[in-house]
């Protein structure tokens, strides 16, 4: 009569895991689309020349150039950007190798603060101006200060409620993605493709920085110092009742003195990381949890971890530093090796899938840029990206090693955008005009 052992179907566990990754990605994309459509409609003229960043350092697109010029300019911009990202990623690998944990953690916290405080504040100001909300400056400053500081704490030390940490990561991804959509159009598209190729190279090539980072982290059994979104692990039914507090695998760079380094400011890690941890009892391990090394008193999970980290790493996203006179570039590292290491996603194992924040960002950039054209492209690109993410997760379960999260989704997204914009729209518009279908 103990019915707590209702067998979980594969739909429950596998579906639940996938939902827990797709939901935050969708939320991030949705928020970026809303931001873009609300803020863009008001400021229609601030198109190209307004953003001065490292991604437009080679060429600033103007409206009067020919398509070929724009394309070449965008290509140059993207090459510069990818080069910067590569260099910064290598620096990060070096720092990780030299165990400079504190520095990386501080850098990440600082970066999160800048994103949440300055960029979040700026977007809030845009919204206030657009809607003429009568907020006074005292309330605004207090609210922004609260938001930013708590966000830094949530990202920096992983001791907050999981929901709060996840929410803040999604917000950071959203803010950075919105900023990226302000780049000129050609630059954005070529940049997306370039980042997808870079991700592919950096994770799969043996000399790629992200792969080195992953292997270093695995060999030391540490967390990667990057901003990583970790989905809650699915707990199986019967095994959760043993009073065992499964500690979530906190990125030890957050607040723990372990030698995890948080990557630099706002590292956007695109990693899908599934960690499979077998507890000592070796029954169905339900929570992918590795004991935080700072709490040595109760290591509930014995050293019996099969922690196979799957992480897909992403490149870095340098921050716009026109006004910020930071001595460093402040790159945001999207390092996230995508690893899915469990024996089948969700099949009786309790892996927590981790997706790098850079993945969130670039998916949202694609959808945001599609939103600047029309909502039809938004729907098409959203479906393409989700399909790509599903394919990537399936590959993850198949290959069980670090995989890049960007290429498939970006490829499908760009393809669907082009097809929708140039083919589907004409078709649908004609059909609607002739009252055939609407």
């Amino acid at each position: 009569m103990a019915q707590n052992t209702k067998p979980t179907s594969i739909l429950d566990s596998l579906g639940e895991e996938i939902i827990r990754i797709i939901a935050p990605v969708s939320i991030c994309m949705f928020m970026v689309v809303i931001l873009v459509s609300v803020l863009d409609s008001s400021s229609s003229s601030s198109t190209s020349a307004s953003v001065n960043s490292i991604a437009t350092i080679a060429y600033a697109e103007t409206n009067s150039d020919s398509s070929w010029d724009k394309f070449v300019g965008a290509l140059l911009n993207s090459l510069v950007f990818v080069a910067v990202v590569t260099v910064v990623t290598f620096i990060l690998v070096l720092l990780f190798y030299l165990r400079c944990t504190k520095f990386l953690k501080l850098y990440m916290g600082f970066s999160a603060f800048v994103v949440l405080g300055f960029m979040g504040g700026e977007i809030a100001l845009f919204l206030i101006e657009d809607f003429s909300i009568p907020v006074d400056c005292i309330t605004f400053v207090v609210a922004l200060f609260n938001f930013a500081v708590v966000g830094v704490l949530a990202v920096f030390m992983s001791k907050m409620a999981i929901l709060v940490t996840q929410a803040y990561l999604v917000v950071i991804g959203m803010l950075v993605a919105y900023w990226f959509t302000q780049l000129p159009e050609w630059t954005t598209w070529v940049l997306l493709v370039a980042m997808a190729l870079y991700d592919l190279a950096a994770v799969l090539l043996p000399v790629g920085p992200l792969r080195l980072l992953v292997e270093l982290a695995i060999s030391r059994d540490e967390d990667i110092p990057a901003l990583v979104y970790e989905a809650r692990p699915v707990t199986c039914n019967g095994s959760g009742a043993e009073g065992r507090v499964a500690q979530r695998r906190v990125w030890r760079d957050r607040g723990s003195e372990n030698s995890d380094h948080e990557s630099n400011n706002n590292p956007n890690a695109n990693s899908v990381f599934v960690e499979n941890v077998d507890s000592g009892s070796n029954s169905t391990s339900n929570a992918s949890v590795v004991p935080d090394s700072s709490t040595e008193s109760n290591t509930l999970v014995s050293g019996h971890n099969d922690a196979t980290l799957v992480r897909a790493e992403e490149g870095w996203v340098p921050e716009r530093d026109a006004e910020l006179s930071a001595p460093l570039i402040d790159p945001r590292m999207n390092i996230q090796p995508q690893q899915s290491e469990l024996e089948g996603i969700g099949l009786g194992s309790s892996g927590a899938i981790k997706l790098g924040l850079g993945d969130f960002i670039f998916y949202s950039v694609l959808v945001g840029r599609a939103a600047m054209y029309d909502f039809m492209t938004v729907y098409a690109c959203y479906l393409a990206i989700i399909a790509g993410l599903g394919i990537t997760l399936a590959l993850l379960a198949l290959y069980q090693k670090a995989l890049p999260a960007l290429p498939v989704s970006i490829a499908l997204g760009v393809l669907f955008y082009v097809l929708t914009r140039f083919l589907l729209e004409a078709f649908v518009v004609e059909c609607s005009l002739n009252l055939l279908m609407f």
């Binding site: 006074d136 999981i162 709060v164 009073g243």
Partner: protein, 149 residues
């Protein structure tokens, strides 16, 4: 399903879904006969929460940090320890800090929101000379904050 023993069917152990905080009741009313040990979760996270020793220091640390003009931190502290707020007698040490965080959050929110509402609703009529100087969009324009810096 059929056995009248607790609500085990409807309660899938520690609730993996993070958005119903009240589900994670620490009251061990489920499966106490079955497994012999009923997990008592203090926090929202359930089986993923921090270790027991950490929880008290966590609550205390967040309570203390909240004094740096961070009512939002207090609110999150209460959110995280929601079940502690509901069942006051079970966790005395944590409860001490959580209640104070809740009180602090309520007080500061009351003050701030009354000020903000007065400002917003009263508007120009009340603050004739300074309203224009205090309102955010004017201030932003004046300082050039939204020049897409």
């Amino acid at each position: 399903m059929e056995t009248g023993s607790q609500t085990q069917t409807t309660d899938p152990g520690p609730n993996p879904i993070p958005n119903n905080p009240n589900n994670r009741n620490p009251i061990p009313n489920r499966s106490s006969t079955i497994s012999g040990s009923s997990p008592v979760w203090h926090t929202i996270d359930g089986p993923l929460e921090l270790s027991k020793e950490d929880l008290v220091s966590y609550a205390r640390r967040f309570y203390k940090f909240g004094f740096a003009m961070l009512p939002w931190l207090w609110a999150l502290n209460c959110f995280y320890f929601w079940s502690v707020l509901l069942h006051t007698r079970s966790f005395p040490r944590i409860h001490h800090y959580v209640v104070r965080s809740a009180v602090g959050f309520a007080v500061i929110t009351a003050i701030l929101s009354s000020w903000a509402l007065t400002f917003a609703i009263g508007g120009e009529r009340l603050f004739r000379p300074v309203w224009d100087q205090l309102v955010m969009y004017n201030l932003a324009e004046r300082l050039g904050l939204t020049g897409l810096s």
